[in-house]
Amino acid sequence: MDKEISGRDAFGDALVEVGKENSKIVVLNADLSKATRSYLFAEKFPQRSFNVGIAEQNMMGMASGLSSLGLIPVVCTFAMFAAGRAFEQIRNSIAYPLANVKIVGGHTGIICGEDGVTHQAIEDIALMRSIPNMTVLVPADARETRQALRAAIQMKGPVYLRIVRVASKTVTTQEEFIIGKANVLRSGMDATIIACGIMVDESLKAAELLSEENIEVRVINMSTIKPLDIKTIKKAAKETGAIVTAEDHSCLGGLGGAVAEVLVNHCPVFMHQVGMQDEFGQTGDWRELLDHFGLNARGICAAVKKTLKNKKQSKFAGRFTR
């Protein structure tokens, strides 16, 4: 039913919903309430909504102060100005004192689109997951965005929630969002694609294409980047022996980085990353940008084949089922 609903619209709706249920929720904006859709909450609950102006650093500190009184601040801005500009405030004012603040980063990835490089956060996952105490959630579709917000509110402690501007196909099916639990969306024993955000849809498309060539890949939606579902990754590595990660984010330190850390420490297998290759994006239509940078089903297929080739040539090849 959420087929044409964007991540941010789903977030805006869900924020009003949780606001009705929980009077402790307060929302802070930095002059981007329209773009993040948090204006919907402001319209419904003006007393509990604060637009602090274009001042993200102050906003993070204020949120921490508000949370010290038992309120649950949801801080809404673009990921670039939250994870980027206010990184240190998030680290020192929110994560270090374990403040119960939910940070919502919108306009993420190159699918942020026409606004271009200055607004396309492709480092936010890496930045946020490097901070102790921080939980990092990257929902794959509108449906999961609603669930993830709810889960973030229900848990105590700082959370970073990554939201997208655009609408994508509904790909998730789980009844409940459990923080730290990955969901296997497609089974397969030849290789595994671990994806997050909009790339989950592309991964499922890639799996379809590969299946036509008799390559059966497992697709995992890794919507919690931290705490990472190490068990599911290890299982996939052991059973399929080839891992591809896919994310609309830099290959340095994001989902791919996190998965690589697990593999190296627990179960080294061949791996390839689909994502932004240590480069900036550019302006353009978001679909064209995904194609331009190879963040699409075709790019994922190529990565799977490369990884499979490595796996087959490896002296460890016999370890795996196929």
Partner: protein, 274 residues
């Protein structure tokens, strides 16, 4: 408010004792920020012994006034003050800046009884205080929020973001105190990055501004009272102080912003403070 002479004498005695223990603690450990700790002693003593509502036996009392040391490097003064007030045992002061201590290099609210905000990165405690004061308004709570800022700290852009917000939300339950000791890490504030005309700046940002001698108990206590009764806007007290106050070789010497005295220097300092 009438302040009795005997009360002032008592506060002066407390201040002297706290200065002595600050130097002893930093000197023993060989690490810490003495200059900006010594400059805020009268401010802290006034707040904790004669002004704010608090209960050292119940640090998380919901209706306590909140105190945020936004200039977190003044932690030695706050730690000695809190120990003196009875938040924790004085023997803890010997663990200052050591592994496993409840007294971290800069304040950690998770570890130290009586600390309301983890601070140290300049500008951030002030925003925290603004959030607390805003939350108190929203929840219709009666307590006040106090934040002490360094003058060097005012270089941070975040401070002025927060100054704008606090005035915008008419946070008359917030009192900021600027420790105007005129020195920051690298030198004189007006040479590193000019702050003057400081009073005009705060006024332009919508604050009620009071300037005082930050070592004079009568002035501090009376202006804290005045701030309490000012309605519709937050108050900032620009407290003119002396960096390193009480130790001859530390006074107005930025070298002792973040440098502990040697053992010989400590002995001399303790003699001066006896």
């Amino acid at each position: 408010m009438k302040i009795k002479k005997t009360d002032i004498e008592l506060l002066e005695k407390k201040a002297k004792n706290i200065r002595y223990n600050i130097i002893r603690m930093i000197g023993n450990r060989g690490s810490g920020h003495p200059g900006g700790s010594l400059s805020i002693v009268e401010i802290l003593v006034s707040l904790y012994f004669a002004h704010i509502h608090h209960d050292p036996k119940n640090p998380s009392w919901a209706e306590r006034d909140r105190f945020i040391l936004s200039k977190g490097h003044g932690a030695p003064a706050l730690y000695v003050m809190l120990a003196e007030a009875g938040y924790f045992q004085k023997k803890e002061l010997q663990t200052f800046r050591k592994v496993g201590s409840i007294l971290q290099g800069h304040p950690d609210r998770k570890l130290t009884p009586g600390i309301d905000a983890s601070t140290g990165s300049l500008g951030q405690g002030f925003s925290f205080a603004c959030g607390v004061a805003l939350g108190a308004k929203l929840l219709k709570r009666k307590f006040r929020t106090y934040a002490v800022l360094g003058d060097g700290e005012l270089d941070e852009g975040q401070v002025w973001e927060c100054a704008m917000s606090s005035a915008h939300y008419k946070l008359d339950n917030l009192t900021a105190i600027v420790d105007r000791n005129r020195y920051q890490n690298d030198g004189h504030t007006e040479q590193v990055m000019r702050l003057e005309p400081l009073k005009d700046k705060w006024e332009a940002f919508g604050w009620n501004v009071i300037e005082i001698n930050g070592h004079d108990f009568r002035e501090i206590l009376s202006c804290l009272q005045k701030a309490n009764s000012k309605k519709g806007m937050p108050t900032v007290i620009i407290a003119h102080t002396t960096k390193g106050k009480g130790v001859s070789y530390m006074e107005n010497n930025p070298d002792f912003h973040g440098l502990a005295p040697t053992s010989e220097q400590s002995i001399q300092a303790l003699k001066e403070l006896e």
